[in-house]
Symmetry: C2
Subunit: 203 residues, 2 copies
């Protein structure tokens, strides 16, 4: 019996190519393709899928949240995360959300079908390079509010704007940004944002 697969990726080209490629495998059947994360859990249930392949970066519901939703709605369905950027923080968060596998889009295409089969068998699949990086990188040092403020700062607004958006006093915002800069090692707010993003500490 073939593996029933749901694919979610916001880039139609990638999604289509992936579906075509994996659909060629005799033991894999692509039962649904989604362009965002919102409908994934429902689609998994509707088609009684065995494996869900999710991109981390998606409009609507992000891949991590979507993974959690899938696990809640259909515990028998394994989740394989596929991502463009090898952000160490994503790996850990995806695992905590119940994902069984995590591969970057740099993976040779042939290994993909194999990864799908492995997670379906209940095995865990993790990109080795990324796993190593994840260990050295460690957890996010940021508290929830620090991450929140830093994320609010990520599109370049002023302290006043961030304060308004986060319902905080300007001084408090500066304190959080200062703390975030100290913890990330960045010298400016913008640098801190970049570092945190590269490590997958925001979202």
């Amino acid at each position: 019996m073939s593996i029933r697969l749901v694919i979610a990726d916001d880039q139609a080209l990638v999604r289509g190519a992936l579906a075509a490629l994996l659909g060629l495998e005799p033991d894999i059947e692509v039962v649904a393709e989604l362009g965002d994360g919102t409908g994934v859990a429902a689609a998994v249930v509707e088609h009684s899928a065995d494996v869900a392949m999710l991109d981390v970066e998606m409009p609507g519901l992000d891949g991590i949240s979507a993974a959690a939703a899938v696990r809640r709605a259909a515990p028998s369905c394994s989740v394989l995360m596929v991502t463009t950027f090898g952000r160490p923080g994503y790996l850990k968060r995806a695992m905590l959300a119940g994902a069984s596998g995590f591969v970057v889009k740099d993976t040779p295409a042939r290994q993909l079908a194999e990864a799908v089969r492995k997670v379906h068998q209940g095995l865990r699949v993790v990109d080795p390079a990324l796993a190593a990086e994840s260990l050295t990188a460690g957890d996010s040092p940021l508290t929830d509010r620090e991450a929140e403020v830093l994320k609010a700062a990520s599109d370049g607004g002023t302290v006043a704007n961030i304060a308004k958006a986060a319902m905080l006093s300007e001084g408090t915002v500066r304190n959080y940004l200062s703390a975030a800069m100290a913890k990330t090692g960045g010298r400016t707010r913008a640098e801190a944002v970049r570092i945190a993003q590269d490590n997958g500490w925001l979202l």
Copy 2:
């Protein structure tokens, strides 16, 4: 006789899927796959390719420069740009560099092969939505140095660092950043960076 195609994209997964997908077409033959832009022109010449499909964002040589290199080395080879982000500025720059087509990765997979055929016939293929956006967005208002300094600022360094990197005085850097902020409409340097990037004015 089949169309000889060279594919360059930094994501192995995408590249492989694209190659597999297009290779299935009876009239298309994928003769080379590259992971960066540096070897594209050489590969085109070596395999006497008819069409080169290039990603804009690539390590090493970016897609725009690679397109120009291909046109120089092999004027008979058409270039089709494929990009993740629909940055209006990219479109214009790609066209100026000699590209015949420009599609985003949101394009339905089936239209891709058709796009390859069209550029091979000498036709131009442009994503309609992007073309419209490109018209309203207009050209980059930034001068070369302004863009250069803004780009140097894009990873969050201080004025002092940017000045050192660009071999300019700190005051000059501040002037350029100020001008860039005025032209982009951003209130802070970080916002100006974001706006310029979204419009494809950097690179």
